[in-house]
C-alpha cells in the first residue's frame, strides 16, 4: 500500500491530467465539469461504449493508470484467455480492451508489460484465436508462454483454509504490478467468473482446487501476497449461460459495460449484479468477503457510474 499511496500523491493528479490530454477525443465529455478527484472511488462503472473507449474513460476516473503503474516498472496484465474461440464468442477478455490497458501501462511509464494465461484449451490455440496474442504484440507487450509446468513456482498461502500452497506462474512473482483483466461470464462450477475466479489462470494445478472445495480455494487465494493492484472487468458481451466456454453467441448479452476497481470482491459483486444475481449467492464472493479480501456490499460504496 505504501507504493500505491506514494504514487498516488506524487503522480496522481499530474498523470490524470496527462492522460486526459493524451485522449483528446474524450476531453469534451468533461468540459465544464471538475476533474475526477483521483482514485477515491471504490468502483468505476462505464456503460454504452466500445471496450477501449470505456476503459479510457474509466481509468481517468480512477486517477489514470499512473496511479497504479510507476515509471520503469514491470507490469503483468492477466486477461482471461481460457478458450480456443474467436473474440465474438465472449469467452475470453476482449482483445481491444487488453490492448488499451497495455497502452495505458506504457504511457504511465511501464518498462515492460507481460501477458499470459494458463488456459483450459490448448494455450497456443487460445492465444492465437482469442486475438489477444496479436493485439499484445501490436501494443508492444510480451506474450508469455504458459503450457509447461516449469514456468510455475510453488508458493505458500499462509492461513489458507484449503489452499495452503500452489504453483503460480513465475511472472506473478517477477512483475512489479499485477493488473487483473477478467471477463464477466456465467460459470458452471463457480456460478460466475470474474476477478477472483480469474486467478485460476495463474496457477498450474487447477484440479487441486476442484478436488478441495473449489469456492474455498478461490477465496483462499486472495490471501496470497501478490494481489492485483487493479481489476478491470470486461462486461461488453456477457455470457449469461453455458459458461465458461459458451455454446453459441446466443448465450451472450450485449451489456457494453466495463468496471474498474482496486477491490476484487467489490468488482465481482458488481458483476454478479449485472448478471442478475445477488453477490452473497455466489459462494466464493461471500467467502472472500468474509475473509476480508474486500467488500461485497455495493450499497455502502462510493461508485462512479458513467454512460457513453
Amino acid at each position: 500500500m505504501k507504493r500505491r499511496k506514494f504514487l498516488r500523491s506524487s503522480l496522481g493528479a499530474g498523470m490524470a491530467a496527462g492522460a486526459m490530454m493524451s485522449f483528446g477525443r474524450y476531453e469534451k465529455l468533461f468540459a465544464g465539469k471538475p476533474m475526477p478527484s483521483g482514485a477515491n472511488y471504490d468502483l468505476v462503472a462505464v456503460m454504452g461504449g466500445e471496450p477501449a473507449a470505456m476503459f479510457d474513460l474509466g481509468i481517468q476516473a480512477m486517477g489514470g493508470m499512473g496511479t497504479f503503474v510507476g515509471k520503469g516498472q514491470k507490469v503483468l496484465v492477466k486477461p482471461n484467455i481460457g478458450w480456443d474461440v474467436v473474440p465474438d464468442k465472449g469467452a475470453n477478455t476482449n482483445p481491444a480492451l487488453v490492448k488499451r490497458v497495455i497502452e495505458h501501462c506504457f504511457r504511465a511509464g511501464a518498462k515492460e508489460v507481460y501477458v499470459f494465461d494458463n488456459t483450459c484449451d490448448n494455450w497456443i490455440k487460445c492465444y492465437k484465436n482469442s486475438g489477444i496474442e496479436q493485439t499484445v504484440k501490436d501494443a508492444g507487450a510480451k506474450m508469455v508462454p504458459s503450457g509447461s509446468e516449469s514456468y510455475y513456482q510453488e508458493v505458500t498461502i499462509p492461513n489458507g483454509k484449503k489452499l495452503t500452497k500452489t504453483k503460480v506462474h513465475e511472472l506473478v512473482l517477477s512483475s512489479d504490478v499485477f493488473i487483473n483483466v477478467p471477463i464477466l461470464k456465467h460459470h458452471s462450477s463457480a456460478r460466475m467468473t470474474g476477478a477472483l475466479k480469474n486467478m485460476m489462470g495463474v496457477v498450474w494445478d487447477r484440479g487441486y482446487w476442484h478436488r478441495n472445495n473449489l469456492n474455498q480455494c478461490i477465496a483462499d487465494y486472495t490471501l496470497f501476497d501478490k494481489k492485483p493492484a487493479l481489476n478491470i472487468m470486461d462486461a461488453y458481451n456477457v455470457m449469461m449461460r453455458n459458461g465458461p466456454r459458451g455454446v453459441s453467441v446466443g448465450d451472450l448479452s450485449n451489456m457494453k459495460s466495463l468496471m474498474i476497481s482496486t477491490d476484487w470482491v467489490a468488482i465481482d459483486a458488481a458483476g454478479a449484479k449485472m448478471m442478475g444475481k445477488e453477490p452473497s449467492s455466489i459462494e466464493h464472493i461471500a467467502l472472500a468477503a468474509a475473509m476480508g479480501a474486500g467488500k461485497m456490499d455495493l450499497s455502502s460504496m462510493n461508485i462512479h457510474r458513467m454512460k457513453m
Binding site: A45, M47, D84, V85, E112, C120, D121, N122, I124, K125, N129, K142, M143, V144, P145, G147, S148, E149, S150, Y151, H187, S188, S189, A190, R206, G207, Y208, H210, R211, N212, N213, L214, N215, Q216, M240, R241, N242, P244, R245, V247, S248, G250, D251, L252, S253, N254, M255, S257, A269, A270, K273, M274, G276, E283, L298, I303, R305
Partner: protein, 519 residues
C-alpha cells in the same frame, strides 16, 4: 550415364527428402499448412497402397507411380524416396567413419527364403486378415516411429534449453514444452527396430532393405523387369572388385559380372567407384541369356504353402485384433467397453485395418490426446493411436489429425462435420464425483464441455451436479480430462465402435439486456 554425376544427384536429392521427412515429424509447432501433407506423403508406397485399395481413395495413386518408376528405373524409390532407406545410408556412412571396413561390403548371397517369406506373410495377412504385419514393417511408418519416439524428445530437449536461455533475456519466441513419455509397452517395437535397422545398416549397408523390408522385396521383384539397370562394359572391366566393395546392397558379383538387380537400390555408388569407366546406368541390352534361369519347384511350393498357412494364421490374428467386446455391466470404475478412435476414423474396425502407426497424427495433435495404444484395440493393433483422455482432450475447433493421415485410417473431416461427429459418449459415475463425495462444488467437467452435453443440475442444498445429454455429446473427452478425481475419473468417454452423428445443441432466447447499472 557414367561418372559420378548420378551418385551426386542421388545424394543431394536424398538429403533433401530426408530433411523434409525429419521436419514433418519434429514439427511440434505445427507450422506446416494442411495442404503440405498430401504432396509430401503422396509417394510413400505402403500408405498410398492402403489408402487406394482399402480406404478407396482414388486420388492416392502414388504407389502406382512408384510401380511404374520401378518398372522403368529399378528400385529408385529405395534410395531417393524412402525415408528409412535414406536414414540407413546415413547410418552406414557413420559406420564407415568408425571402422572403414564397415563400408567395404563385397558380394554376399541373398537371404532369398527369408525375404520372400516376409513379403508373402505381409501381403497374405494384409489381404486376408488386416494391416498388422505391414504396420510393423512398413518402412515409412518405421521411420515415423523413430522420429516420434526418439527424434521428437531430443528436439524438444534442445528447444527447451534454448527457450530457457532466451527466457533469461526476456525473449519468448520459443516456449518450453513438458516432455511426457508414452506408455512403456508402446516402445517395445520401435526400440527393437532401432537396434535391428540401426545395427544392420551400420555394419551391412542395405541388408535390412534386402532381407526384411517387404516394400523393398516387392519392388525388387518388379525391378527384375526394369528397363534401366546398372551394366558392365565387359571389355573395360578389369575385375578389380571396387564396385562390389562399394555396393551397400552387396549385390555385385563382379567375378561373374552379374548384378542381382532385385537387390540393387540405385545408389550409384558403384558407378563412382569404377576407375575404368566399366560400369554405366542405362537401358538393359537385349540379348539371349547364355544360361536360362531355372525354376525352383521347391520355392514355388513354399510360396503356395505359405499362402495356405497364412489364411489360417490371419484368421487367428484377426480374432485377436477385434476391439474388445463388452464384458461387464458398468461399475464404479471407468469401465470403458470400447476405446475411442480419432475423429475421421469412422469406426474402430476400419481404423485398425488401415493404420500403420506411422504416428504422424500423434506428433501433430496439439493437445496430445492421441497416444499409442497398447492393448486397447487388441495387442495386434499395438501402437495404433487412440484417444487418451487422461492426457488430453480433443480440441473442439481442430481437425489436424484428419488432415495428415497418409493411409486413410483417419479420413478428412471438415471442421463443422467434426463438431457433430460423436466419437463416444460421456458416462457419469456419481459415486466418484466430488460433489457427491465431498459435498463441495466442482463442475470442472461441465466447464470444459464445448456443447454443454455435460451440464449441471440441482443437487443437495445449493450444490450442482453433472448430468450428460447423450444426443449432443461428441465424445471429445474434455469432461474426462478436466475431472479432478483420482485415480478413477467420475466421468469418462466410452467409445462408439462406429462413430455416430451428434445433434447440434439448441439455444433459447435470452432475457433483455439491462441498460442501467443494477447497483
Amino acid at each position: 550415364m557414367r561418372s559420378s554425376a548420378l551418385r551426386h544427384i542421388r545424394t543431394v536429392f536424398a538429403v533433401f527428402v530426408l530433411l523434409i521427412f525429419v521436419y514433418l515429424f519434429i514439427d511440434y509447432r505445427g507450422t506446416l499448412g494442411e495442404k503440405a501433407f498430401g504432396p509430401i506423403l503422396y509417394l510413400q508406397f505402403a500408405p498410398s497402397l492402403l489408402k487406394f485399395v482399402i480406404a478407396g481413395v482414388a486420388a492416392a495413386t502414388g504407389f502406382i507411380v512408384i510401380i511404374i518408376l520401378t518398372l522403368i528405373t529399378g528400385r529408385t524409390y529405395c534410395s531417393f524416396l524412402c525415408p528409412l532407406g535414406i536414414l540407413q545410408d546415413v547410418f552406414s556412412r557413420m559406420g564407415g567413419l568408425i571402422k572403414r571396413r564397415f563400408r567395404r561390403y563385397g558380394y554376399k548371397k541373398p537371404y532369398t527364403w527369408l525375404r520372400y517369406f516376409i513379403l508373402v506373410l505381409t501381403a497374405g495377412i494384409l489381404v486376408l486378415g488386416g494391416v498388422y504385419v505391414l504396420t510393423i514393417l512398413d518402412p515409412y511408418s518405421i521411420f515415423g516411429r523413430f522420429m516420434t519416439y526418439f527424434g521428437q524428445p531430443v528436439v524438444l530437449l534442445i528447444n527447451n534449453l534454448l527457450a530457457t536461455l532466451l527466457g533469461k533475456f526476456d525473449i519468448y519466441a520459443l516456449y518450453r514444452i513438458d516432455i511426457v513419455p508414452y506408455e512403456l509397452a508402446a516402445y517395445f517395437i520401435p526400440v527393437a527396430f532401432l537396434f535391428l535397422v540401426g545395427f544392420l545398416s551400420f555394419r551391412y549397408g542395405r541388408l535390412y532393405c534386402n532381407t526384411v523390408c517387404p516394400v523393398g522385396t516387392f519392388l525388387g521383384l518388379l525391378s527384375k523387369l526394369s528397363i534401366f539397370r546398372i551394366r558392365f562394359e565387359e571389355e573395360k572391366c578389369t575385375r578389380c572388385g571396387r564396385c562390389a566393395m562399394a555396393c551397400k546392397s552387396s549385390c555385385i558379383d563382379f567375378l561373374n559380372k552379374h548384378i542381382d538387380v532385385s537387390r540393387c537400390v540405385n545408389c550409384f555408388n558403384c558407378l563412382d567407384s569404377c576407375s575404368e569407366n566399366a560400369m554405366s546406368y542405362g537401358p538393359v541390352r537385349l540379348r539371349r541369356s547364355t544360361k536360362k534361369e531355372e525354376t525352383d519347384p521347391s520355392r514355388r511350393n513354399f510360396i503356395t504353402g505359405s499362402i495356405v498357412l497364412l489364411t489360417g494364421a490371419s484368421q487367428l490374428l484377426r480374432a485377436q485384433g477385434d476391439p474388445p467386446a463388452p464384458t461387464k455391466e458398468s461399475t464404479v470404475r471407468e469401465d470403458r467397453l470400447y476405446p475411442v478412435s480419432p475423429p475421421g476414423s469412422v469406426s474402430i474396425e476400419s481404423y485398425i485395418s488401415r493404420c500403420t502407426a506411422c504416428s504422424l497424427c500423434i506428433i501433430e495433435c496439439p493437445t496430445h490426446v492421441l497416444q499409442p495404444s497398447v492393448s486397447e484395440y487388441g495387442f495386434a493393433s499395438i501402437m495404433q493411436p487412440r484417444m487418451d483422455f487422461h492426457r488430453g482432450f480433443c480440441n473442439y475447433d481442430c481437425n489436424r489429425c484428419t488432415d495428415v493421415c497418409p493411409t486413410g485410417a483417419i479420413m478428412p473431416l471438415m471442421i463443422e462435420a467434426k463438431k457433430l461427429t460423436q466419437l463416444g459418449k460421456a458416462v457419469f459415475i456419481k459415486e466418484n464425483c466430488i460433489v457427491h463425495t465431498e459435498k463441495t462444488a466442482c463442475g470442472a467437467c461441465s466447464e470444459h464441455c464445448p456443447t454443454k452435453a455435460c451440464h449441471m443440475v440441482p443437487y443437495e442444498g445449493k450444490l450442482l451436479i453433472p448430468e450428460v445429454r447423450d444426443e449432443i455429446c461428441i465424445g471429445c473427452g474434455a469432461c474426462e480430462y478436466a475431472c479432478p478425481t483420482k485415480p478413477y475419473k467420475a466421468i469418462f468417454v466410452d467409445g462408439n465402435p462406429v462413430h455416430e452423428a451428434a445433434l447440434k445443441p439448441e439455444t433459447e432466447e435470452l432475457e433483455a439486456t439491462p441498460d442501467e447499472f443494477p447497483f
